[in-house]
């Protein structure tokens, strides 16, 4: 469905002016993922090529493809997007891998370094004048090149990322920071580097424990990471610049937290899909732009109120950068008002200490290791459980959806333990195991989410 020219803008403004209104979903402002999937299924070949097709055609000018979000088309209740000029632009840019901010950065001679795991202190890259880019797959379901290297027993998110690495979509990266986030991730990077060597690859070794000796080891590893960046990119990272970036990152975290608080309101200002788009944008743009975009989104939505949803949900689990997936849940009436996702709150909830006291690397080590909320920390389940319970309470969630990609061991097991803990507190839980970005899963997901929403009821 293509709206008449200019109508999108009008609707976007309506979204701001009449916050009480429950607006229809704006398909022309879909993040382009559905289109991505649709085009991918129609045209055999690389996602890189598809991305270019998207760019030529103008991303976001098409109706959604067969993603879970497509159920909105069938008349389900809640919207995925409310628009607004700034938000529209953010949503559009967050829906492509190499967004306009990255392109401009590269055109201006900037260098971009990829990372995947939230245990990677990006401040060091920022301080070196690099653009840290969090690798994502945006629901890409084409994995034929990756499948020749990884196996069907590896998580499809990693296979999707590898595919994009091998097919050229990520050719704009000037390097990669690897971590031992999980076995699949390690395998993905090894295969990527084996098939198509990175110009720069540094392995940041993140301990699985956060005891004093591990902290010291990690701090030393951050020093090696800093040195590696300095050596390869021929830059000097000063302590002052590192502090500046720590302060900047802390401001970004504060703004993201503000957005999350606005989402947790009784009448939320953002949908879950919009929030994920904001998060994606905040991890794929130069430092100054990140802050500006978040400020704009906050200003634009400060009085916005979403009503009419069936239930307030918390979404937790494994690497979920599929805006379409959240949009699908919301299109059925379950508004995602909080998350404990790795591409979400867990990446920024711990605040940095920007007091400029002591060694900045020590500050980074403490924040990124001691406060790391990830199931790869095998000693920390009680802390993660408490984090989920606190988020449920804060957001007044009616229910929790715990999702993990098939073969994701760390989240697959953690989700069972979370479910048991949540059910003990009387909080309804839906545990979903899914294939990443697979349209074949849509029907099953839809049925299960619908049944869950019917079960928990929530305010009508």
């Amino acid at each position: 469905m293509k709206l008449p020219k200019g109508e999108d803008k009008v609707l976007g403004k309506v979204g701001v002016k009449k916050p009480e209104a429950l607006l229809p979903r704006l398909p022309q402002k879909s993040p382009g993922i559905s289109h991505f999937e649709k085009a991918a299924s129609a045209v055999p070949g690389s996602a890189g090529r598809l991305r270019r097709i998207e760019e030529e055609d103008g991303a976001g000018d098409r109706e959604p493809g067969p993603g879970l979000g497509a159920v909105a088309e069938a008349g389900f209740i809640a919207p995925g997007w409310f628009g607004g000029e700034e938000m529209d632009e953010i949503i559009k840019q967050s829906a492509v891998i190499e967004n306009e901010h990255v392109k401009k950065w590269k055109r201006d001679g900037g260098r971009v370094v990829g990372y995947i795991c939230l245990a990677t202190p990006t401040e060091i890259m920022d301080a070196a004048g690099l653009l840290p880019y969090r690798v994502r797959a945006l629901g890409n379901s084409q994995t034929e090149m990756a499948d020749a290297r990884l196996s069907r027993f590896n998580c499809s998110f990693c296979r999707s990322c590898l595919q994009l690495g091998l097919d050229g979509t990520y050719d704009f990266l000037d390097g990669m920071i690897e971590t031992n986030g999980c076995d699949h991730l390690r395998g993905m990077i090894e295969n990527w580097h084996y098939a198509k060597p990175f110009a720069f690859l540094h392995y940041l070794k993140v301990p699985h424990l956060a005891d004093p000796s591990s902290l010291k080891y990690y701090e030393e590893d951050l020093r090696l990471y800093k040195q590696a960046i300095e050596n390869h990119f021929d830059v000097t990272i000063t302590e002052a610049e590192l502090w500046n970036q720590i302060q900047m990152e802390d401001r970004v975290r504060e703004k993201l937290k503000t957005i999350y608080e606005m989402r947790e309101r009784a009448e939320p200002a953002f949908t879950g899909a919009e929030t994920l788009s904001l998060f994606l944008m905040a991890t794929a743009a130069p430092a100054a732009i990140r802050e500006k975009l978040l400020d704009q989104a906050i200003a634009e939505r400060k009085d916005h109120k979403i009503r009419g949803y069936k239930a307030r949900l918390l979404l937790g689990g494994s690497a979920t950068d599929e805006v379409d997936f959240i949009q699908g849940i919301e299109s059925m009436g379950g508004l995602v008002v909080a998350d404990t996702l790795c591409y979400g709150s867990r990446a920024f909830w711990p605040r940095l200490n920007p007091a400029k006291a002591g060694d900045p690397l020590q500050v980074l080590a403490k924040t990124y290791l001691e406060e790391l909320l990830c199931p790869r920390m095998f000693q920390d389940f009680p802390r993660r459980r408490d984090y989920v319970l606190a988020a449920v309470e804060r957001a007044k969630a009616d229910g929790v959806i715990l999702v993990h990609n098939k073969f994701c061991d760390v989240h697959g097991v953690d989700n069972v333990a979370f479910r048991l803990a949540l059910e003990k507190k009387g909080i309804p839980v839906l545990q979903l195991e899914k294939e990443y970005g697979a349209s074949a899963d849509i029907g099953r997901m839809k049925t299960r989410v619908q049944a869950f929403l019917e079960r928990i009821g929530g305010p009508q």
């Binding site: 699985h208 095998f378 061991d409």
Partner: protein, 484 residues
């Protein structure tokens, strides 16, 4: 007194093994021969397991192994009566450290699952874990045993030691889940994925911290004398390990296929004990006798197969015999690749350093726990393949091994490039029959040996012939009546 059949995996196994342990060795030997004699009238599964373990060419070592395992299980069963605590350890943990404590006994979860698979009891416990909603892509090697702890009235250990972090996410998670669910303490020996001296130093720090935690938990100091007592025996085990390694090199291979399992079964349970020494000595004796006689179970050795990671255990160990009968030598698998070192027993520090070295080199930790998951594994496989004169390498494709699955394509490329050896990639669950039936796996191995391994050995001659025939046909047409 009311008697009831135990339902839990450990309770059942330990009872069965305790009965065996009460039999004197000569009686067990005779009973073994008798059982083997009547195996044709026994249920097929039981006959299969007996056939493998009690086959005359393996029996002396198998019986020693059974006695050793019985002692291991009985020690755990009677632990509380003897004032000891049972510590559940993973296979990649050096059990000799626990044997050095007077007040603790180790129980290895994967070995329990393997023994359960050997007597056809695994699946029911797996189902208990699945009943809790745990994902079906967990490792059955752990989940079978831990499923029993979670879902039945089974024995529970007093603590869990996890050495999987850094080497295997899936085992790390199930250990964490079980410890939390049962409310028992969990101790860690994580492996930094760092091959540098810094990584090795950090690993030693983790080991020292673990020892201190265990001392506190057990209320016992790990003294130099205790360590020396165990590590002197561990050193003897190490010597015997290398004797068996060297014996594998002979053609035809004098080492029975099942010895691969017996070797690492010993490494994972009783290393550093008299029983382990007896088992390994029995294995060496069998192999040496066979070497002297040039004995081989089949008519000829058709293929020398190195298994890159685990083998298959779910068909009552019949798989090992099946290979042997067809002339397919099992040169060992990834779990045999632990390359122990002789520990310097001169001081407590040197001995703890020796244990750190042993732990660092345990299978899985050493390979996929390395800085690069593919590099250390590939180097070990290539080294073993060359040393043991393998004709081919087979990867079992245990579905839960996400780390090996994620880099097996690199192993295949490097193996082919550097040695020319073919790699067969199978898919199956090593501990459960539900994923791929044994008949299918056997068929694939047969076809691989027939079509790739056997033909490969003919290849140079064929190429030569082809070149020769081309030469003849293009430049010098053969004279009428002559043969090429």
């Amino acid at each position: 007194m009311k008697l009831s059949t135990p339902t839990g995996l450990f309770n059942r196994l330990s009872l069965q093994l305790a009965l065996l342990n009460r039999l004197p060795a000569p009686v067990l030997d005779k009973a073994g021969a008798l059982l083997l004699a009547i195996s044709p009238i026994l249920p097929a599964e039981m006959a299969s397991a007996l056939g493998t373990f009690l086959a005359p060419h393996a029996r002396p070592a198998s019986l020693a192994f059974i006695k050793m395992t019985a002692k291991w299980a009985t020690d755990a069963r009677n632990a509380s009566r003897n004032g000891k605590k049972v510590l559940l350890v993973p296979f990649n943990f050096p059990c000799e450290l626990i044997h050095a404590f007077d007040s603790a006994t180790p129980l290895t979860s994967e070995v329990l699952s393997t023994l359960a698979a050997a007597v056809g009891q695994g699946e029911q416990y797996w189902d208990m874990a699945m009943g809790l909603g745990l994902p079906d892509h967990l490792c059955s090697a752990n989940t079978i045993e831990l499923g029993s702890m979670l879902g039945s009235e089974d024995f529970k250990p007093q603590a869990i030691i996890s050495a999987a972090p850094g080497g295997c996410d899936v085992n790390s998670k199930i250990h964490e889940f079980v410890a939390h669910h049962l409310g028992i303490p969990q101790f860690f020996l994580p492996k930094p994925p760092d091959d540098s001296g810094r990584g090795r130093k950090q690993y030693a720090l983790y080991l020292h911290a673990l020892i201190a935690q265990l001392e506190e938990f057990l209320g016992e100091e790990l003294t130099e004398d205790k360590l020396r007592r165990v590590l002197t025996k561990a050193n003897r085990c190490t010597e015997l390990y290398y004797e068996i390694w060297d014996l594998h090199k002979a053609v035809p291979c004098p080492v029975p296929n099942i010895f691969s399992l017996l070797l690492y079964g010993t490494r994972f349970t009783m290393w550093g004990t008299d029983e382990a020494i007896k088992t390994l000595e029995a294995m060496v004796k069998v192999c040496k006798e066979r070497l002297a006689r040039k004995a081989y179970p089949a008519e000829k050795e058709v293929a020398r197969c190195l298994w890159a990671y685990t083998s298959y255990y779910f068909d009552f160990m019949g798989f090992f015999s099946w290979m042997e009968e067809r002339g397919y030598t099992h040169l060992g698998d990834g779990l045999d690749l632990c390359f122990p070192s002789i520990v310097d027993t001169s001081s407590r520090d040197t001995m703890i350093e020796g244990i750190a070295e042993a732990a660092w080199n345990m299978p899985m930790t050493r390979q996929v726990g390395g800085e690069s998951m593919s590099r250390s594994w590939t180097e070990d496989v290539i080294y073993a393949a060359k040393e043991l004169k393998a004709d081919c390498v087979i990867y079992c494709g245990h579905h839960s091994c996400k780390q090996t699955w994620s880099v097996v394509s690199i192993l295949r490329s490097e193996l082919t490039k550097r040695t020319g050896l073919p790699l067969l990639i199978l898919q199956g669950d090593s501990w459960m029959k539900r994923m791929t039936p044994m008949s299918v796996l056997q068929q694939e191995i047969d076809e691989f040996v027939r079509n790739v391994v056997a033909k490969k050995s003919l290849k140079p001659r064929k190429l030569k012939d082809r070149r020769k025939s081309q030469l003849v046909s293009e430049d010098n047409p053969p004279a009428a009546g002559s043969s090429v």
